[in-house]
């Protein structure tokens, strides 16, 4: 299985989970799937059989509302049984809508309140650098999340302490909870902003393209923290969800669910 096939399977899992449990944030999850799957499949040093291996690379999904995407990615990667995904959103389970680490192998950090995870990831990178560990720390933030002041506090900190072992990926799908980023709180040129904060910045024209993502993720700087602005599409992979804010909230049912699964080519999995 290559990263592309992994991403297809994760999208199918995610849409099914959200459909079955009437969950929200499917469009946010579809946006970030390619970033997650390229990282887990091709970039990060991990061992699904030993999720707490000390020398593993760390990943923090700071945009914790896309929990369904990381749960599905971890399951498809073999961190835990795929069947456990059925417990998502269910009474008595450990798979909350927003990411929780308790009882979920492979999840480094519980997130959900925006502007937290990326800062904790900076702390992880700082600790690794101070103890001369070789692993890398990754954090994925949403573009709307960049409204949070703490994101910029930690941007300052990471450049001050020259955390060359840190990569932050901004899932830049140009939409947030109540509208476009431009209409809600205009972030301007995000790449220029992170550059102005002293980071090594790479813009990825198509943040859902695996080759482009791989290339960017391999182009880090030894001295400076790296920020990758991944220009993604919210709802990517399901035509009627793409760039449609409704699917930040709505779960696909009836014809919408059938059409979504058809577009994702789910027939081979749920034949």
């Amino acid at each position: 299985m290559n990263s592309q096939e992994l991403a297809r399977r994760v999208r199918i899992d995610a849409v099914r989970m959200v459909h079955e449990h009437h969950a929200s944030h499917i469009a946010s999850a579809l946006s970030v799937v390619d970033i997650l799957t390229v990282l887990y499949h091709d970039i990060m040093h991990i061992n699904p059989q030993n999720p707490n291996m000390p020398e593993r690379d760390r990943l923090v999904l700071s945009k914790g509302h896309a929990g369904v995407a990381i749960y599905a990615t971890l399951a498809e990667m073999g961190f835990f049984e795929l069947e456990r995904l059925d417990q998502y959103y269910s009474d008595g389970s450990v798979f909350s809508g927003h990411v929780s680490h308790k009882g979920v192998p492979g999840v480094e950090l519980s997130t959900g309140s925006l502007g937290h995870g990326v800062c904790v990831a900076v702390g992880m990178a700082f600790a690794a650098k101070r103890s001369c560990k070789k692993h890398r720390v990754y954090a994925i933030v949403g573009d709307g999340e960049c409204d949070e002041g703490a994101v910029w506090e930690t941007a300052l900190f990471a450049q001050q302490y020259r955390l060359g072992n840190l990569t932050v990926i901004v899932d830049h799908n140009k939409m947030q909870a109540m509208g476009t980023c431009e209409a809600v709180m205009n972030l301007g040129d995000l790449a220029e902003k992170w550059k102005a904060f002293g980071w090594h910045v790479i813009s990825v024209e198509n943040g859902n393209n695996h080759d482009q993502l791989r290339k960017a993720l391999q182009s880090t700087d030894d001295e400076l923290p790296t920020c990758i602005i991944a220009n993604t599409v919210k709802g990517k992979g399901v035509s009627f969800m793409e760039n449609n804010l409704l699917w930040h909230y709505r779960d696909p049912q009836g014809d919408a669910y059938i059409k979504a699964m058809q577009e994702l080519g789910a027939e081979d999995i749920y034949a």
Binding site: L109, S110, G112, H116, C119, V120, G123, F126, E153, T154
Partner: protein
Amino acid sequence: MRNTFVSGLEKLAENDDHLFLMTGDLGFGVLDGFAQKFPERFINAGISEQNMVAVAAGIALEGNSVYIYSIGNFPTMRCLEQIRNDVCYHNANVKVVSVGAGLSYGQLGMSHHATEDIAIMCALPNMKVFSPADPQEAIAVLEEVHRLKGPAYVRLGKGREQNIHADMPVENVYDAQEIKDGSDACIFATGAILSEVITAADALGKKGVSVKVNSILSIKPIDEQVVWNCGKQYKWVFTVEEHNVIGGLGSAVAEVLASMPDNRARLFRIGMQDQYSSIVGSHDYLRDYYGLSAQKIEEKILTVMGMRS
């Protein structure tokens, strides 16, 4: 007690390579020794408490203990959600140390007065809450929080506290420390206000009112057994704290007394009466203004016990 605590931290760091100290750009002159001895483990996070706490959680989750140092409400309220989600939910080994308990910062004003911090920190699961009264209590608390592998809040005075425990070592920080025995009433006090309470108790003694004084270093968990015993033994129980009476020591004692089947004590909580400090004054002036000087404490106790003419 601040300087004693920081000196103690330096000593612990000598034998613990995994101990980090972070400041939110405060502690000028106080943290120099640590910073010079352990530059790799001293971090000035700048004026950004939210990030400081989250970064501390990240460092702690990698197998370290991190002490966050700041003043007043900055390391608690400004970054409360980071303490809740990043530190406490993950049971991260982060110690929040705040200098300037209660009204310590006097004339600097209400922004620098910490009068609701105990209540807020006590409300967080996994968080232990300590409020030492003097340098000896501060060192005992430091040793205990260093031993703990999870979150703790340490509330320190600004300095110049009396050495109350000079010849009475603190053996267990979770035990109420009996400072003075008495038969008519029992006072529980926490933090540096203890010195005022002792003065008040001595004055009451001269008027024929025998008062027991207990120092409470650990508000969460609180020494339920001693509170329970006092609830059975005494007709009057008082709490004194440089903090709002809601959510602090007074509330913690009230919760224990209310759960007792055989409580005979009436409880009176002396502290800030659900108000902000809005008048300007020195620490001593403000304590007196808000009813927390030795004289005001004495008067309140006599009034409550119906012994004031």
